[in-house]
Symmetry: C2
Subunit: 292 residues, 2 copies
């Protein structure tokens, strides 16, 4: 989504990113969502939605040989990003300062802001008890039915510098087609963020669902487990009156009629962003939607 | 020194290692002396006395590109060792447990024991104030005159499991030709270690000096700064009655006559361990010395 908007020439883009998936792994501070946005906007993202394209894994291979659990496998160049962040955080810089520095190094023009510099950790409650997001997602491959989600620290977290300002000044707030409970709620849960979004004139959510299922990941399952209705009703319920526009895929074209109302515009377009061309097309479609 | 003794076939070798140089760098727990002994005994040590021979530096090069201070430059495979250690320590294992695991992975037969699992940090007092060992040694290239040395934590540190036992059971304790104040004192300063060494029948110190100077590193300068006499008198003073034998190089052959006494044997041999052959020769020389 960020890439689609970034590809539109004259968009002043600020991406506010979830930090609930952040974790210490191998003692290194990883921030998977920040890095995915960073690498995507730097046009070097790996083929599976994380890491750097063509990255080698010599360090992790050696660590595996030493007996480390390298289920969370970080490429060598990606490791440099994560070690740089770890070192800078240890030296007392904030996550948003380090992110700004990475954005500059990678030549990204957009602003990338962690929603907070304070720790927010998504904890997944399962039948086996509470586990960290990375344990749930990477180690256990999101197979556990989710009984509850807790965003540890989010109650006390302060929005990072610029977050509320960026939302407040934006012509439009776009909620990316991410997993609503796992990736968007921990952002909205930081005090002040939901209010700022609610005050925006235009809030466009792009649905992550295609015929009721996410392209990848457990969005539909997690939403169902948390009692949200199936399909795009669930997406709307997840955002609870916050959005002015919902964008759905052609596959769910009937949702336009069914879900539109006086306070909600439902739009239908091709939302699969399979390649650069499709991303650019989708990006201009969104900007035209906004200028309408 | 460890390599020399390891090359002698039937020696049951335990190396007790300084941890005062341990540090967090880039957020990674490095233990330079442990790794130097590990890599040396695994026959993969780098050419400058640290790191792994032929190691690449892709991660550090990328970190430098990101703006990190990579003065303390860790090779990619070496980084895997350090990240493995960092991760295992974060998971609650002790430094000696992690070291034992590395020793096994690298196929080393000797035992390598950190002198303590508790933190001991060598702090170098300079005209600019107290700085960490790594800042003194690596960042400032041991140029600062040393005003004082403090082994932070050593008063409360407990010897790691097996350390006192290994010293107590040894036929001979050999003090390696390392920098006495910087590398040996932080070992001897851990409560119980000096007493254990003092109780050994035979304690052989190998002098790090050649005509009053170390082959590399600031041993002579640091010893002088701390008020120790020059040359091998200084080495003996540093070990303060602890050693039964001092081994000096041919270059200091006159020290035999000058320094030998009723409680001290001074031996002269070639102490430069320039290659594997010389190491093996020196190793057997030491073992013959012991069997005399």
């Amino acid at each position: 989504m960020a890439r689609a908007l970034d590809l539109v020439g004259d968009v002043d883009l600020t991406v506010v990113v979830n930090v609930g998936d952040d974790a210490l792994t191998h003692g290194v501070y990883v921030s998977p969502d920040l890095d995915t946005v960073l690498y995507t906007l730097a046009r070097i993202e790996g083929p599976h939605g994380w890491g750097i394209a063509g990255d080698e894994h010599k360090v992790m291979d050696t660590m595996a040989w030493l007996g480390a659990d390298t289920t969370f496998r970080i490429g060598d160049r990606d490791l440099a990003t994560n070690l740089f962040r770890t070192a800078e955080l240890s030296a007392g810089r904030t996550l948003s300062e380090v992110t700004a520095s990475l954005v500059e190094s990678f030549g990204v023009e957009a602003s990338i802001l962690p929603v907070s510099d304070d720790p927010v950790r998504t904890i997944v409650h399962t039948a086996d008890g509470p586990i960290s997001f990375q344990r749930y997602f990477v180690h256990r491959r999101h197979q556990d039915p989710v009984e509850d989600l807790v965003y540890e620290g989010s109650g006390e977290a302060r929005p990072a510098p610029g977050v509320l300002e960026a939302i407040g000044e934006a012509d439009v707030v776009v909620i990316a087609p991410s997993n609503p409970p796992l990736s968007i709620w921990p952002v909205l849960n930081v005090p002040g963020v939901t209010d700022a979004v609610a005050n925006a004139d235009r809030v466009i959510a792009v649905s992550p669902l295609f015929g009721g299922k996410a392209l990848k990941g457990p969005a539909a399952e997690v939403m169902a487990a948390l009692g949200l209705p199936p399909g795009n009703e669930g997406v709307l319920a997840a955002y609870d009156g916050l959005v002015t526009d919902l964008v759905v895929d052609h596959e769910d074209a009937t949702d336009r009629q069914r879900l539109s109302g006086p306070d909600l515009h439902v739009h239908v377009t091709a939302t699969r962003i399979a390649d650069e061309d499709k991303a650019a097309t989708f990006g201009s479609w969104i900007t035209h939607l906004v200028s309408r």
